[in-house]
C-alpha cells in the first residue's frame, strides 16, 4: 500500500470553557493518498474547518489537540513546537481559505507576497524566486502574469484573487493542500473554473487535497472520497459515488434528501427534523439519534461505532442499504 500523505488518527480537539469542555472534533480518523481529493462535508458547526485547522496547526487558543495523532508523509506533526511547525506550514501544507480578499495582504503587490513565500521555503535567489512566482501565476491561469505581478490584491476580481491565493498555497510545492470552502464566495461560472483548476493541479502534481465545503454538488464532481461530519464526528466515509449514490448513514441520507435536485421536481423537500445540537448540549449515545427516523434503543446510550479505518463507511448501528429519504420513505 502506498504511504498516505496525510494520516489522521483519533483526532480530538477540545475547547475548555466556563461551562465545561467542548469537543468540536471528536475521534476523527482518515487518510489522504497522493493525488487524491478528500471532500469533507457537513453543516455549520460540524467541525469540518476545525479538522483542517488542526492539521495545519492553526487552532486558535484555547482550542487544542487533546488526543490523537497527525502524520504527514510518515512524520508526526501534531506535537511540534511553533518553530518546527513553521517549516511545514506553507512548505509541505498549503492552505486556501474561503475569502480571497482577507487572505492576501492588501498593502503588498501579489508578486512580493509570492516571492516572500518562495524564499522562505525554498533556497533560491531573489531573481529566481521572481521567476517562479511568474510561473506559479501562469500555472493557475492568470493572463499576462509578468505584467500583473506588481498589481495589488484589490486590482483583481474575486475569481482571479482566489487563483492568486491558490498560486500562493502551491508555490512551495506542498504535498498536501487544505482548501477550506475555496469556492463558496464565488459565482457559479468562476466556481467551475476554480474546481477544474484544483483538479488539474492535483492530478499533475500528485498532491493530496483536503477539500472542505458544504456544497454536495462540488464534492460529487471534485472529490474521490468523501467524509461526512456531524457534531464533531465522522458520520460516514467512503468513495464519493457510494456515499452520495447510496448513503448508509441516516444523516447523509437526510442531507441528500433535503438538497433540491432536478430529478425530484417540485415535490416537498425531505426535512431532517430539529436542528444540529449545540456542542455543549450533545445528546447521549449517537449525536444524531434525536433527529434520526430509525432510532432504536441502542442508539440512545451507545455512541455508535467509531470509524476506524479508511473504508469504514457509516458510523451507525443500523446502517441503511441505499437512499431512503430521496424516495420519500422516511
Amino acid at each position: 500500500m502506498i504511504q498516505p500523505v496525510l494520516s489522521v488518527r483519533d483526532l480530538v480537539v477540545e475547547i475548555p470553557t466556563r461551562h465545561g469542555l467542548l469537543k468540536p472534533v471528536d475521534g476523527v480518523s482518515y487518510d489522504i493518498a497522493p493525488g487524491e481529493i478528500l471532500g469533507v462535508v457537513g453543516e455549520s458547526g460540524a467541525g469540518k474547518s476545525m479538522t483542517g485547522n488542526a492539521v495545519i496547526g492553526l487552532l486558535d487558543r484555547p482550542a487544542r489537540i487533546a488526543e490523537g495523532e497527525i502524520h504527514l508523509n510518515g512524520e508526526r506533526i501534531d506535537n511540534l513546537s511553533l518553530r518546527e511547525l513553521r517549516k511545514y506550514r506553507g512548505k509541505q501544507i498549503g492552505m486556501v481559505f474561503q475569502d480571497p480578499l482577507t487572505s492576501l495582504n492588501p498593502l503588498l503587490p501579489i508578486g512580493d507576497q509570492l516571492t516572500e513565500t518562495i524564499q522562505e521555503h525554498l533556497n533560491v535567489s531573489k531573481s529566481e524566486a521572481e521567476g517562479r512566482a511568474v510561473a506559479a501565476l501562469e500555472e493557475v491561469g492568470i493572463p499576462a502574469a509578468k505584467e500583473r505581478i506588481g498589481s495589488y490584491p484589490h486590482e483583481f476580481s474575486g475569481g482571479m484573487r482566489q487563483r492568486v491565493v491558490i498560486a500562493l498555497a502551491l508555490c512551495a510545492e506542498p504535498s498536501l493542500v487544505i482548501a477550506d470552502e475555496p469556492t463558496t464566495a464565488l459565482d457559479v461560472s468562476v466556481q467551475a473554473q476554480i474546481t477544474a483548476l484544483l483538479k488539474r493541479l492535483c492530478r499533475e502534481r500528485g498532491m493530496a487535497v483536503m477539500l472542505v465545503t458544504h456544497d454536495m454538488g462540488v464534492i460529487a464532481e471534485t472529490a474521490d472520497r468523501v467524509a461526512v461530519m456531524y457534531a464533531g464526528k465522522l458520520a460516514e466515509l467512503g468513495p464519493v459515488r457510494d456515499v452520495i449514490g447510496s448513503p448508509r448513514h441516516p444523516y447523509t441520507d437526510g442531507l441528500m434528501g433535503s438538497t433540491p435536485l432536478a430529478s425530484k421536481g417540485k415535490d416537498r423537500l425531505h426535512q431532517i427534523p430539529g436542528n444540529m445540537p449545540r456542542l455543549g448540549k450533545l445528546p447521549s449515545g449517537c449525536a444524531f439519534h434525536p433527529r434520526c427516523p430509525y432510532t432504536q434503543g441502542k442508539c440512545k446510550d451507545d455512541p455508535g461505532p467509531r470509524l476506524k479505518t479508511t473504508d469504514g463507511r457509516a458510523a451507525c448501528w443500523f446502517p441503511l442499504d441505499g437512499p431512503q429519504a430521496a424516495k420519500g420513505v422516511a
Binding site: D187, S189, D215, S258, T259, N275
Partner: protein, 323 residues
C-alpha cells in the same frame, strides 16, 4: 389569472464618480454604473417568479425597486396597477404598500438585536395602525416556532429560526407579494429545505406571490413557476423551469447550467466557462455576453439583441436558433 407585478423598461443607474474635488484635480469625468437596464417582465398572482444571475447582474436592485427601497432611473414598476413612484392618491399607496413585503438574505443583519421577536413581527401591522393583539404569537406558530418565543430576543435563535422570524414579519401585514432576496443562501442545506418547504406551504395557504431572487439554480428550479435569467443588468432569457432547464435558448443560460455542480456528476470533466462578468461601468458593446460567448458573430458586438418571444419563453440572442 391577474398580473400583480408589471415591470416595464426598468433602468437604474448609480453614480460611482469620485468625489467632486478629486474629479476637478484629477480631471476625471463622471462615471455611471448601469445596474439594471431596460428590464420588462410580469408576475402573475399566486406564482413564483424567480430572478437568477451571478453577482452584479442586478437581481437585488430589481427587487429593491419593486418594493420601493430604490427609485427607478427610468421605466415603471406597477403593483396591482398602481405605480408607487408617481401615484398621488395616498389611500391607494397605503393599500399597495401593505401588500408588499420583503425577506432579506442575512437573517442576522435584518433583525434588530435590541427588539423582542414579538415586537419585530408585529411592527408592519402596528405601522399601519392595526391591532397587534396575539398577532406575533399566531404568526410564530404558523412558521413553525412556538408562541412563547415572542418574548425572546433574536440572538436566542439559530439562522434557520431567524429566517422563519423574518418570514413571519413579512406575513404580518397580510401581503399579497413577498420579495425574497436570496432567502436561503446563508443557511445550511437541511435548514434550507425547512425554509423552502415553509415558504411553499405559506404560498398555498395565503395565496401569496413570490418574487424569488437567487443565484442557486437548484433552488430556483425547485421553487419557480417562471424564471428570468439576468446578465449584467439585462434580462437575457425568460421561460418556465422545464423549458429553461431542458432546452436553454441563450448561450449564457446554457453556460450557467453547464457550470453548476451536479450531485450526480461524479468526476465530471467540463471545460469551465471562459472569462468573468465584465465591468458594469464599461460594459461591452452590443450583447454584453459576446466576449465570453462561443457562438458570437460579428453582429453580436455591434448590435444589442432584443428580448423576443421564442418557443414558450423569451430570449435576447441573435443566435438563439443555433444554441
Amino acid at each position: 389569472m391577474s398580473i400583480i407585478v408589471s415591470v416595464k423598461n426598468l433602468t437604474r443607474n448609480f453614480d460611482v464618480s469620485k468625489p467632486w474635488l478629486n474629479r476637478v484635480i484629477e480631471r476625471l469625468p463622471k462615471r455611471n454604473l448601469t445596474a439594471v437596464s431596460d428590464v420588462s417582465f410580469e408576475v402573475e398572482e399566486n406564482t413564483v417568479y424567480a430572478l437568477v444571475g451571478e453577482s452584479g447582474s442586478g437581481k437585488s436592485t430589481i427587487g429593491k425597486m419593486i418594493v420601493g427601497l430604490l427609485n427607478p432611473s427610468s421605466g415603471t414598476v406597477e403593483i396591482e396597477g398602481v405605480n408607487l413612484a408617481t401615484e398621488t392618491d395616498q389611500g391607494k399607496i397605503d393599500v399597495v404598500r401593505s401588500d408588499i413585503q420583503m425577506v432579506f438574505q442575512d437573517p442576522y443583519a435584518s433583525l434588530n438585536p435590541r427588539w423582542k421577536v414579538g415586537d419585530i413581527i408585529a411592527e408592519p401591522a402596528a405601522a399601519q395602525g392595526e391591532s397587534t393583539d396575539g398577532l406575533s404569537e399566531k404568526l410564530l406558530e404558523q412558521v413553525g416556532l412556538s408562541a412563547s418565543d415572542a418574548s425572546k430576543f433574536p440572538h436566542e435563535f439559530s439562522g434557520g429560526q431567524r429566517q422563519r422570524i423574518c418570514v413571519a414579519r413579512a406575513l404580518a401585514s397580510e401581503p399579497k407579494l413577498i420579495v425574497c432576496d436570496e432567502p436561503t443562501s446563508a443557511l445550511d442545506v437541511s435548514v434550507q429545505a425547512q425554509v423552502l418547504n415553509l415558504m411553499s406551504d405559506l404560498k398555498d395557504e395565503f395565496g401569496l406571490t413570490y418574487l424569488f431572487i437567487s443565484h442557486d439554480l437548484t433552488v430556483i428550479q425547485h421553487m419557480a413557476d417562471k424564471i428570468g435569467v439576468l446578465y449584467l443588468g439585462r434580462l437575457v432569457e425568460e421561460a418556465a423551469p422545464k423549458d429553461l432547464f431542458e432546452n436553454p435558448q441563450h448561450p449564457y443560460t446554457q453556460m450557467l447550467l453547464e457550470a453548476a455542480p451536479r450531485m450526480d456528476g461524479f468526476g465530471r470533466e467540463i471545460d469551465p466557462p471562459e472569462g468573468e462578468i465584465p465591468d458594469p461601468i464599461n460594459p461591452p458593446t452590443g450583447c454584453a455576453f459576446h466576449p465570453r460567448c462561443p457562438l458570437a458573430i460579428a453582429n453580436c458586438s455591434a448590435e444589442r439583441p432584443q428580448l423576443e418571444a421564442r418557443g414558450n419563453g423569451r430570449v435576447a440572442c441573435f443566435r438563439a436558433g443555433d444554441v
